[in-house]
């Protein structure tokens, strides 16, 4: 499984986009993330893998401060986005989330038209003034979401009327419409069938040319297929982080090896 598409997946840049230093996350008394240090490069797909409850989603949600919405959640340490601390008091999480888009596990389009789903972000961020500009953004985003051809004739039909895979690509289009710099994906394919999964994976590979993509996945095959960098989480610790090819062929930690060979997890 580890030689799929590997040859064409070279890192295009080594510049760091997100850098986490000694990040700890607590849910009340539970210590969910323990001293995580990681450097996520730009224009790369980085996969977070690990068994359920290992904290990979929690860490992902720290990057756009979605954990702020949970009352009992407490984050310590620094997460730098372009060398700026996103947990600085002066940072407004709303502004941050415009820069760091997110796609969720379950497709969650708004119960509005396809057009309004995509146009909502640009509208609230004031990215477009006129109807024509919004039309342009909607088309561009839906094209990037690889769903334009399927929906161009029914832009005003409800977004929830699409199939699961289409909904997820619509959510990706919605996320890229606000021109984010980082795209976080929390198990984006777990609710999709293999065909829709393949479409979304292809899309993720395309998105790499513009954004830094961080994807949480349960599927090791998926991590191997789409990512250039992989981080393995276990029980709240970041066990190993490196090039995907290294992690899957030559893991340095015994726990990583056990996990990818199916002995734990």
């Amino acid at each position: 499984m580890n030689n799929m598409l590997m040859s064409e997946k070279k890192l295009e840049t080594t510049q760091t986009k997100i850098s986490a230093k000694d990040v700890n996350v607590y849910y009340g008394d539970t210590h969910a993330i323990k001293d995580v240090n990681v450097e996520i490069p730009e224009k790369t797909v980085t996969a977070f893998i690990g068994p359920s409850g290992c904290g990979k989603s929690t860490f992902l949600r720290c990057i756009n401060r979605m954990n702020d919405t949970i009352d009992v959640c407490r984050v310590t340490g620094d997460i730098l986005l372009d060398a700026e601390d996103i947990y600085d008091k002066r940072v407004d999480p709303v502004q941050l989330r415009a820069k760091v888009g997110m796609v969720f596990q379950k497709p969650n389009p708004f119960p509005k038209s396809i057009y309004d789903n995509v146009a909502y972000g640009p509208r609230i961020h004031g990215l477009a003034k006129t109807k024509a500009e919004i039309d342009e953004i909607v088309e561009k985003s839906l094209r990037r979401g690889a769903i334009w051809d399927e929906v161009k004739d029914r832009l005003h039909a409800p977004g929830t009327g699409l199939s699961g895979g289409q909904q997820q690509r619509l959510c990706i289009a919605r996320a890229v419409a606000t021109e984010p710099e980082v795209l976080l994906m929390d198990e984006p394919c777990s609710a999709l069938d293999p065909i829709a999964t393949a479409q979304v994976e292809e899309l993720i590979d395309d998105l790499r040319s513009r954004y830094s993509v961080v994807i949480v996945t349960h599927s090791m095959q998926q991590a191997a297929r789409v990512s250039q960098k992989t981080a393995f989480f276990h029980l709240g610790n970041l066990v190993e982080f490196g090039d995907t090819s290294d992690i899957f062929t030559n893991p340095s930690d015994s726990r990583t090896e056990s996990y990818i060979t199916g002995r734990i997890g």
Binding site: N64, V94, K99, M102, F104, K106, F110, Y120, I124, T178
Partner: protein, 447 residues
Amino acid sequence: MSDATPQAPRKSSSLLSVDTQTQKRNSAENRFKNYGLIAVMAGLLALVILLTSILNNGLSSFQQSFVTIEVELPEAKLDKSGTRDLTVMSKVTTFGYAPLLTAAMQAVIEENGVEIEGLTKKEIGGFVSKDSAAQLRDFVLANPEVVGTTQSFTFLANGRIDGYYKGRVTAASAELDKNVSPAQLQLADALLDAGVLTNGFNTGFFTKGDASGQRPEAAGLGVAILGSLYMMIVVLCLALPIGVAASIYLEEFAAKNRFTDLIEVNIANLAAVPSIVFGILGLAIFINFAGLPQSAPIVGGLVLTLMTLPTIIIATRASLKSVPPSIRQAALGIGASKMQSVFHHVLPLAAPGILTGTIIGLAQALGETAPLLLIGMVAFVKEFPGAPPEGFFDPASALPVQVFNWTQRSDPAFVERASGAIIVLLVFLILMNAIAVLLRRRFERRW
């Protein structure tokens, strides 16, 4: 249980024959279905009985007997000065007008050649409602130029005459009744043949204010309907925004701690507080402390707002809670602020539920009587309140209180009026619920 085992040997496992265990389960299920059906039927029967009894008693209140007669308005009696000076004219009281009515009635009886034995002059005068003299006086004072002419008027017939055509009064009961004589009933039949007495739709039931116990035929719901409408406006304008804002704050913004838990428990408790307690609260705060007038729709509206708020808050919070969290995350995830996510996405999805809760709360408020008794809305109010906003501070009645009021009067004609008022109240409630259903459909279909 244990004796069933030897009867059900394992070998008879044919699917074509039903074993005892299955038979038992099936009959238990059928029994349960029948109990449910019986319960529903009993409920429906009670509803049918209630509706028939109310409709039987009350429908006749929408009909009324009228007498159309020509009344001479002599200047010598009504305007001694001859200058049409209103201050002089208004010195003539309704007692001055009553003889004119008697004369007019006598004239119309003679004109139609009706001769009835034992019909006294007092009985002829009492044929029309006691309210007629006041009606005549009001007309003359409003139009002084008619003095000296003869005008045609349509008066209400006396309540007993009216009751005669509704089957409440008969010749036999008139014998025993000091308010009506059999001769008057004969006169009524004769005038009906002559076309002087007519039975028509009772518009006055909706346009008139309350009337005293001696003149049930003149009593109307107008003031009560307007008072209830004013109160509903106050409740809607206060309870909806306050309730929805409080729910949104508690549900979406407030931190979950002991303090908000306490508030939550108290809101749930407030919904169960007897409504009369809110009446005492209103009396103490709005009337005694704030000095607002008694019997005013504004006070009634404020008290009902207090009473309705818990209902609206509970319904709104439930419908906010039912909006899936994924919608909030989606909005937050693309950089919407908390408020944007609530107002652009959560609130529209919760709107049908909020609307239903609000209308249920309003319907509850519309039918509430007890708290209004304590803030003086039970008073006898004949005058209409003014136009809003001043009208909110004028004395008014309310529909359920009017029903309560009329059921306490001795004249049987008021039983009919009270039932009629109940019908009106029920029609309003059905209308409100229909609006709720329609709006909910519209909202759900919108997208």
